[in-house]
Each structure stands twice: as C-alpha cells, then as structure tokens.
C-alpha cells in the first residue's frame, strides 16, 4: 500500500497586508460572471465557492493570497473568511500546480483493481513523487479519494475528464496526448465549473455586455 495520506498537513500561507488596497486581476468577464452568479442566491455570501472557482481560473490555476484578497474584496468580506473557506476544500489549489493535474484514485475499489500500480507507474514515468510537479511545470501528480466512477476502476481525473479502466499502456498514450492538449488543464477545469453555474440567458447576457464594453472602448 501507499505511504499514509499526510494527515494534518495544512498549507502555510503567505500573508498579505490587508490594509493595502488589493491588486485586482479579475477580467471584465470574471466580474460579469460573478455578478450574475450572486443573483442565484438570496445573499451574496453564497457565491463564495463559485467566486473561488473564478479566482482559481483568473490566477492561472491556483489561489495565491492575492487571489483570496481579491475574492474578499469582491465578496465584501474579510481575508480570514475567504481563507477559511478556501482551505477546507481539496480542489482549491493553495500552492502553484502544474498545467495539468493527474489525480489518481486509490480508494477502495481502485485500490484492489490496480490504482496503486497506476500511481507508482506515473511517479516513475514522470520522475516525481505524489504531490509534486514536474520541473517543466507540465504535470502535478496527486492521490485522491473515491472519484465515484468505481465501475471503471482504476480511475484518474485529469482536469474536466475522468479516464477509467486505466492500464500502463493507456497512461503512456495519454501523457503524450496531454502534453499538447489545452482541453484538460487546471485552468480549463475551473472554467468548466464556472460555466456550469451560468444559465444560457446569463451566458448570452455576458457576451452582450462584453461586446458593448469592447465597442465603447473602440469608440
């Protein structure tokens, strides 16, 4: 079996100076999206998880302290509240990660159907350990809990897709494919999740608003 999941290890965060005005990096699109998602709920606090997803996309796949600060600013709450939420959920990356995350399930069914072999093979092939990123910044390898696709064990999540019934040969082919693909990146995953929140009319609304803004700028 694998080494134990490292219990009780929490990411140490760099602090930001809350007295300084935050540097704001959300794009116009991100701002439009967040405004609309807030309207799904009777209060804006409920948009916290989607806001963090937007931030993870806008900041290139992870949430540096500046991103948390910007979310706090846009949600009208404190840095501590945002940090508290962000650190609870495993899919918010608190540290920089590679362009693509390979998240191998080693939970019950996968563990008895070869999940650990897949994990070991990826470690060897990429020359990194679980939790690390390849030096070229392409891949981060993670061990995760049940992805709930156990009928296709062993399973791995790569961005917004699951790959099941994995074999060592499939992994070889997949890694090649992923090197050149922009489909299943960490940023793409965050964007997919954001888009899933937005209704069709909201998405159309956003496009119109952005087009208007672009026109205004030209004029």
């Amino acid at each position: 079996m694998s080494e134990p999941i490292r219990l009780g290890e929490y990411p140490r965060m760099r602090r930001v100076d809350e007295r300084k005005p935050p540097e704001l990096r959300f794009s116009q699109r991100a701002i439009e999206e967040l405004e609309r998602i807030k309207k799904h709920y009777p209060n804006k606090r409920a948009a916290m998880l989607p806001a963090l997803w937007i931030a993870q996309r806008e900041y290139g796949g992870y949430l540096p302290p500046e991103a948390l600060m910007e979310v706090a600013y846009r949600m009208g709450t404190s840095y501590a509240v945002v940090e508290g939420v962000a650190t609870f959920y495993t899919m918010y990356n608190k540290r920089p990660v590679g362009r693509v995350m390979l998240e191998v399930c080693t939970n019950l069914t996968c563990s008895i159907c070869g999940g650990y072999e897949i994990l070991r093979y990826l470690e060897e092939k990429l020359g990194i350990r679980v939790g690390e990123t390849t030096p070229d910044g392409q891949f981060t390898l993670m061990e995760v809990e049940c992805l709930n696709d156990c009928g296709n064990a062993p399973v791995m999540q790569v961005g917004n897709r699951y790959y099941g019934n994995l074999t060592l040969e499939k992994i070889d082919a997949l890694l090649e494919e992923l090197k050149s693909s922009e489909e299943h990146t960490v940023v793409q995953l965050a964007d997919t999740i954001v888009q899933c929140h937005l209704t069709e009319s909201e998405r159309q609304d956003i496009e119109r608003a952005l087009a208007r803004a672009a026109q205004a700028e030209e004029a």
Binding site: M1, Y41, A46, M48, T90, N107, C146, G151, C196
Partner: protein, 429 residues
C-alpha cells in the same frame, strides 16, 4: 430475478439525455400530470409509493415532503444532493449523465408539491462531466418552458441552479451541504432536536427539502404510474427498485437496477459473477459493515440487510475476492475517513487519525495483540458520540471487519505480514 428497470427504463436509448428524445419517451408527462393535481395529492402519491431516501439513510421521502410548511411565509427551497461521494457508489453519476431530464422533472414536481420557487442541485466539483450534461438539459428545459416563470401556463414558477462543490466528502451530509451552499466551510450544522429540521429551517433558515438524485429520479415514474404501482414492487417496507453500483472483483461492473428484496447472489450474477473466489461484499458503500461470503445469502432490502448486520446505504456494492487483505483494505478505509473528517468534533477528528496510526503500526510489523481491542475501543468512542454521521460511518466498517476477520488481524500482528500472502496468493492491494 432479472433487472427491473424503472429509473433506467430508457437509459440505453440513444440521445435520451436530450429533451427531444426524453419527451418522445413520455418525458415531462409526469410534470403535466402533477400540475393538474393538488399539491397534497402529489405528496400523497409519494406517500403511497413508500419510496425511501436513496442517499444512504433510507428515510421515507414523503415525511420530508409533507413536513414542509403549507404556507409561504418564507421562501421554500428544494436541494438535490448530487455530491455522490460515498466510496463504491456511482449511480447518481449515471442518472445525471444519461437521464438529466428525469432529475429535473423530479425536482420541478418536488418544488411544486412543497411550494418552492427555487431549487439547487449541488454537484460535487469533480463531476464536471455530469454537470455539463445537467447544464445543457437545464438550458433546454428553460427554453421549453419546463423551468422558469409560469411553467406550462400553470402559474407555477421554479428556477433551478447548479451549484458546484470543490472537493469534500463531508458536503454530502445534508447540513454540511447547506453550509457549503451558503458559502461556508463544509461543516455540519446543529441538528434536531437541538435545532429545527431542515424542512422548517434549512437554507437561510427557510423550509428546505433535501433529497438525493436517485430519490428525485423516482418521482416522475411514481406520478405517472401512481404510488400504488411503485409500492407493488419490492418488499412491504422496502418498496420499488434500487440501483446498485457494483464494482471490484466482478466480471461486469456497473449500475444494476433491481427490485428491492432481490437476493444478493443474483445481483452478483447480473454483474457477471465474481472474479475468483468471493471473500466479502460491502453492500452499501464504504460506510456500511462488511459482509463475509458465508453471510451473503441475504436479500437486498433495508430490513434484510439490517438483520444481516449491515445496511443498504447508498447501494455502493463492492465485491472482494480472496486476494484482498482485509487489514490493508480497512486501513485504506480508515485513511479515507481520517482525510474527510471535517474536524468539527473531537471523537471523529482524533479517533479517525488514531485508527490510521494503529493500522500503520500493524502494517509495519509492529502490531500488538492489544491493538485489536484498542481499535474496537476507539470505534466505541466515535460511534454515537460524534457530531454527524461521518464519525459513525468511520467506526462501523472497522468494527465489522474485526468481528468477521479477527483472525486476519491476529495473523498480521503475529507474523508481520498478511494471511493472504501466507496462502501463496498475490495481494490485490
């Protein structure tokens, strides 16, 4: 008994995830029918069906539906639990990917019956593939007037929003899910009798109906064919059908919908039979007690499984053959709960970590005989003393594994390696 497909009746129809094909197969006729009934009539059909919650606890659905106040002094909400995180379970995934409109139809009917104008479907963050299918289906349903204002000219409004999680098993627990949806850490909230039920004070302290994807997916068929028809399937107390997600050492893993009360061994046959020699089955997801092979002569319904010392749970049916080392398997189970414990209460937060440490000592060859009783003692300290069901769920499987496979623990402690290796087999983990 063969499969009995009710929810999955049209699962294999090409394009069934689109509105057009779903409508061709009777889709949304249940909604039309429900809108012509009174709200109480809808609830009474659900009552007559006897359908019980498919998320794990098996609580009669109609009691929740009927418990929502019948006036609108506050807004009401419907919350669909699509956080499917129970290891071994993958039925909600398929229900959303193949039959998204069935989920939507069930939710709109639930909204109508409970006076809710807004519904949320909380989908776990990892489930982007089902979420995209749901997104497309919801957009279609809005265009066709099945969602939004004045649905089908009935004067009933219902808006449906997708809310995505971000990686946390605990958010499947209903009060933690509400916390998470309200933008907080996914920790559970004070429960009945110390606080009102969610049906009275749920999301934003308003009446909230929380049901699992599969529970809500049962609703269209119940309304279409009547509660009595649904109740004619299954057993007296466990009515209808249940989807089991069969995985592990079987030849054809997958989701199988069978009538409640189907013999366990028949489900194994449906799934192509066991690969190798059957050692044990975990019939309802990682949280339920393990069932050794010699106790597998049991029917799959709430009561029979309980009598056999285990539970139906979520229907995550994991099959283990004789290459599995129970000690290692249980260490992996313990590690899962330790990882997912939300940290709110001490018995679960500390107890789950201690169990992993004891398992690690055993696996490293340094186990002591007292460790077995120490594990049982920790189980007793967690079970019934923790704030939410996750703690209990962490204790049950370990306790049952010691009950049924104590000799494997003893062997490991005495010899420093697994009994499975000693039998000359390759260990699966």
């Amino acid at each position: 008994m063969p499969e009995r497909r009710v929810l999955f009746e049209h699962r294999d129809v090409p394009g069934i995830e689109t509105l057009e094909v779903y409508e061709k197969h009777g889709g949304y006729s249940a909604l039309r029918k429900a809108l012509s009934m009174t709200r109480q009539q809808v609830i009474d059909e659900v009552k007559a069906s006897g359908v019980r919650g498919r998320g794990g606890a098996g609580f009669p659905a109609w009691i929740k539906w009927n418990g929502i106040p019948k006036d609108e002094s506050k807004p009401h909400y419907v919350l669909c639990n699509a956080d499917e995180g129970e290891p071994g379970t993958f039925k909600d995934r398929e229900l959303m990917m193949r039959l998204p409109h069935q989920v939507i139809e069930g939710m709109v009917i639930a909204g109508y019956a409970t006076l809710a104008k807004v519904g949320y479907i909380y989908i776990r963050g990892e489930y982007t593939e089902p979420a995209r299918v749901m997104r497309r289906a919801i957009d279609e349903a809005y265009r066709a007037g099945y969602l939004g204002k004045n649905i089908l000219g009935s004067g009933v409004d219902f808006d449906l929003y997708i809310h995505m999680g971000a990686g946390s098993y605990e958010c499947g627990e209903e009060s933690a899910m509400m916390s998470s949806l309200m933008g907080e850490r996914g920790q559970p909230r004070l429960k009945f009798p110390h606080a009102p039920l969610p049906t009275i004070a749920g999301l934003w302290d308003c009446p909230t109906l929380i049901n699992n994807v599969e529970t809500l997916s049962c609703v269209p068929a119940i309304i279409r064919n009547g509660g009595a028809w649904y109740a004619s399937m299954g057993t007296e107390k466990s009515t209808g059908t249940k989807i089991f997600s069969v995985s592990g050492h079987v030849n054809r893993p997958g989701n199988y919908e069978v009538e409640m009360g189907t013999p366990l061994m028949e489900l194994l046959e449906l799934a192509g039979g066991v690969k190798g020699k059957l050692k044990a089955v975990i019939p309802g997801g990682s949280s339920v007690p393990i069932l050794p092979a010699d106790k597998c002569d049991v029917n799959l319904d709430y009561e029979s499984l309980q009598a056999a010392g285990t539970m139906l749970g979520s229907g995550g049916f994991m099959v283990l053959n004789d290459t599995v080392c129970i000690v290692r398997f249980m260490r992996r189970t313990a590690a899962f709960y330790a990882h997912e414990s939300c940290g709110k209460c001490t018995p679960c937060r500390e107890g789950t970590r201690w169990m992993v440490k004891i398992f690690d000592r055993i696996l490293a060859g340094g186990g002591r005989m007292e460790d077995i009783d120490l594990l049982l003692d920790i189980c007793d300290q967690i079970d019934g003393r923790s704030y939410c069901g996750l703690g209990d769920a962490a204790a049950w499987p370990i306790r049952a594994s010691i009950k049924h496979f104590r000799h494997e623990y003893e062997y490991f402690i005495q010899h420093g390696h697994s009994i499975v290796e000693a039998e000359g087999k390759a260990v699966a983990v």
